[in-house]
Symmetry: C2
Subunit: 340 residues, 2 copies
Amino acid sequence: MAKRRATSSQRHQPTMHDVARIAGVSQMTVSRVMRGTGYISKDVRNDVVKAAREIGYVHNRLAGGNATYDNPIVGVVVPTMQNRVFTEVLSGVNEALNESGLRPVFGVSEYSLETEEDLVFDLLSWRPRGLILPGLEHTASLRKIIAQTGVRVAEIMDIDGDPISACFGFSHAKAGEDMAKHLIERGYRTFGYVGSQGGADLRATKRFDAFSRVIREAGASLVFNRSPEGATSMEVGRQITDEVLGQPNPPGAVYYANDDLAAGGIMHCLAEGISIPKQIALAGFNGLGFLSALPKLLTTTVTPRFEIGKAAASWLMHSDTTEAIQKTELSAKLRIGETT
Amino acid sequence: MAKRRATSSQRHQPTMHDVARIAGVSQMTVSRVMRGTGYISKDVRNDVVKAAREIGYVHNRLAGGNATYDNPIVGVVVPTMQNRVFTEVLSGVNEALNESGLRPVFGVSEYSLETEEDLVFDLLSWRPRGLILPGLEHTASLRKIIAQTGVRVAEIMDIDGDPISACFGFSHAKAGEDMAKHLIERGYRTFGYVGSQGGADLRATKRFDAFSRVIREAGASLVFNRSPEGATSMEVGRQITDEVLGQPNPPGAVYYANDDLAAGGIMHCLAEGISIPKQIALAGFNGLGFLSALPKLLTTTVTPRFEIGKAAASWLMHSDTTEAIQKTELSAKLRIGETT
DNA sequence: GTTGCGCATGTTTACGTAAACACATTGCCA
DNA sequence: TGGCAATGTGTTTACGTAAACATGCGCAAC
């Protein structure tokens, strides 16, 4: 019977047939027990489970995927792992998928649409049940391969635009607008903006565009605007805040692309003895958990990262393919703190 | 020829055979082009690539795994996604695997060895090339299934103990010892300890044990010791620091299980006008990036999280199965800041 | 008492790729 | 010029599982 191939140094792993032989049943019965589907009597189930445990058999969930066109996988693209926002999204995705025994397979795009495109090709090579992509902007090639393969796609974090089929998130335009209105209302008239990723963060740009439109319409002005390259951090925020305050006419308020940058601003002011918000007001974005530990509560927009990841994954699992294009808003909320 | 199964609503995806037919070659030639192996002439390669692009064919990397006993997967267990430490590890794993076109498939154990065991069973159902597990402590069932399946395992973050086959990390005992020695040397004689995960974080416990042994030997004493349940955060650190300072005889120095907790301590002192390190000294663990933005540089132990993830993944990819048990130290270094 | 349905199990076959082996062609050195 | 290695391509087969279909049994409704 020794017709096994001796491929490399890999030794033969037990299969359902091995379990079946020991339990005295057919391979198909083992398959049914492993998946908990179909009719199986208690006795047979026990025999199979016992046999499997005995020889250390672990269900191979990939082997059947070929024949059924279905792997227990969801492909996820995140722009970065440096920002908690996306690890929280991933966490939400993971939690939703856990319920169905699926797993996320992820890749990091570094905020590049070209890298995203490469990643999608790679993730499609796993024949996933669906994809989760950040934002609504993608390359033409990506859209083409999505259409050709017919893979289901959930776009997340944004609803300002046209989704491929379903999107889950909030309006960045509205978030930028709301923040601008709040600051105008508070009486600030000169503003600074600190962006991220050298402008490659398209959703931050959407916030900024709406923000600057509102302040322009209110007759106020933007006196500082910089988007440092690369990953953002408290440290970068601290440095740029130093720069902002070194200007001949520093702005009355600074809008940061995210909380890390803004928190760096708070730290800088704290260290330099600059009074917030008297000398300068600061506003962030995301509402990350660590803010509540800072000496001054930051004014920011709280976004439901975890929930967005969860909702997108749930949709991929539960909805059918015939559904129409849909936008699901999981809204972001302005939270006024002590820094504005 | 229409013998395709109409399984559910899944439409038929193009296969290598389809590409082969269009390009006028055999399926095997397409396979060689897709994987970039073997001898292929330039003309044929171009034809195949063109044909693939034309019909939107994407290489199915799971289909052959059955026959070759090899899937391009590494299973990774992390204790939590709440702490940057492990998202950085995951990031390092991801980067190392990228080079070989493998992907991590991860699960979160929540610091429970039982959950870890369940996860390992689940991850093994992917027939991964290897597993990356946190720490050297595992359940007996987990060890058994590892032995039975013969899957390769890299254990990370710890080297104080006996690895299954290879481990990558540093000595937590030494880290705790070094910190204790430093604080003793600075003249502190009464200490507090703030742990994590209600004591379920076994590596934090190792640091604490070594820490308390050294201070005991030096004739100093531990006057506060608490490990809050659940995830740690700056907020929790802030609350417990308040508690520490509310004691009748507060300690001269507090050792926190991680930087988030310690940073919360800094924030509390800052808000309450308590002088660091005069009134109280604070020490953390990990050396996370955000520390450099804080108003006071925290004394901590800097750990190479990213590098550990990368080294473990590299080892799984490159070493062969015959190698002996090995420990690879990627050392953690005491970094003295302004808080001790 | 026979019909039919729920339950429990088995048999056959499809899946898409990659290893192993086979074979043809080319070019170069002896 | 003959032989052999390097190059390029094809054929056959294995992989482990799950869908589809088949089968058999017991029991209740008529």
